[in-house]
Subunit: 266 residues, 2 copies
């Protein structure tokens, strides 16, 4: 029996995640724990946020499975499986930049059907369910603005496209000569952005995103947000993206085909 | 006669800038003007924001000069000269990412002595005056949180340092082999961040920032924020950074010296 989370369900999860992730964000501004903090991307916030989300899901959807970055898998053969990345963009988080986000996706029979990207410092909430792909903004009390339907850009010409990627190794021309050719043939290539880049592709502000070596929990939540907004997201070999790997997302079929002609094998 | 802007002066400027820059941010979410918008980084927001800031400065400090990205220079030989980048990170702005900021710096006899970086979507305001370097956060009505004093990290070992840069060309190993060597010898290198990277260096979350081909208005506002927080910022040849160029900012003298040993000439 198909299940789809409501907007209220997503907002509840976004609030739960914010309660756990925000207290640790930029803590060195008030507590001088820089040395102790180090660069371990698995912060306390990561663990606490996933734990709280798992407890919420277990209570509300006890029959479903859960896969998370921090706390592993349970019930992964159930019809519905939730996939959690509590803090996607841990390096941005550690650096104090507000480009990280909490990702929660829902798979039905291994296919991503719903998901959210929540950024608690800005209050941005992108989500998709069977009604479509949407944006709303939450204030500190959880009140939300009127939701706006997301749709991808109409860009069809690679020379007019904006391309985002986060992965530093993609800039090594020696390693990825075909990526170097691609990025010189788009209108602009930009770097960083983390999960925001995929969300902004769904919102129509970015035309193409390519990321290497993603995990399942890095992408499942974003797939429905992109697809319900009219975009395409697959692995570079054209297969479904739910298992992670090397991922391409494009606003239009034309851009997708043009980019794949660069033979971006790694 | 030396002049230093108060916190209230910075907050007024941040509010004026927000009124002009926010209405155009992510407008394609509500108005489908993606085709008309294109990628021209000189958005209407850029021009309106600088114009409003110039009017404010002219009213409050009529004796001072002003240099801006959009509307040129006036009175640039005055003792005090304001330097404005209305939207630093226009590409992030166009992409809908909240990593852009409004920069306003103050030079006295060509030396940067005060400045602010304001990000109106998050409400973040970083500023420096003769009292030090500070962070506060503004809400939509301009109310601010208790200010926090900024101080750089204590990192002295390059192998423990985090390095940020935005400029894509720095990743071309062929063009910048010494940069490639440097970035493989730090703890982590990350890309993007725009003016936030310098602000977060001042706040102690990032240890090293290197940017190529900056204009004066890209850096003057950030110099006092970094210096008053205990950091170092110069051109790669060791000269003062107020005129722009190739810029290095470091949390400690030890990191600064170690990075310069890589002979990062361009």
């Amino acid at each position: 029996m198909a299940f789809t989370p409501t907007q209220e369900f997503f907002i509840e999860m976004a609030q739960i995640a914010a309660q756990q992730s925000l207290p640790y964000f930029r803590t060195a501004l008030v507590v001088d724990n820089k040395q102790a903090q180090g660069f371990d991307p698995v912060t306390q916030a990561d663990r606490d946020t996933e734990n709280a989300l798992r407890n919420f899901i277990r209570t509300r959807r006890p029959q479903d499975g859960i896969i998370g970055e921090e706390w592993g898998s349970e019930g992964e053969n159930q019809e519905h499986v939730w996939v959690i990345d509590p803090i996607d963009g841990t390096r941005a988080y550690v650096a104090g930049l507000p480009s990280w986000g909490t990702l929660v996706g829902l798979m039905q029979q291994s296919r991503a059907v719903a998901g959210m990207m929540a950024q608690p410092y800005t209050g941005d909430l992108f989500f998709a369910n069977q009604e479509g792909s949407f944006f709303t903004r939450l204030d500190a009390k959880g009140a939300s603005t009127k939701r706006q339907k997301l749709s991808v850009s109409q860009t069809t010409d690679l020379a007019q496209a904006s391309l985002f990627t986060t992965t530093p190794s993609l800039f090594e021309a020696k390693q990825f000569p075909n990526f170097a050719r691609l990025r010189h043939n788009v209108r602009q290539a930009r770097f960083g952005g983390d999960c925001y880049a995929f969300a902004m592709l769904a919102a129509g502000f970015i035309d193409l995103v390519i990321e290497i070596d993603l995990q399942s929990y890095d992408i499942v939540a974003l797939v429905p947000i992109i697809e319900q907004a009219g975009g395409i997201v697959t692995c570079l070999d054209g297969s479904r993206p739910e298992a992670g790997g090397n991922i391409i997302a494009a606003a239009t079929p034309q851009l997708y085909e043009q980019a794949l002609q660069y033979n971006l094998t790694v």
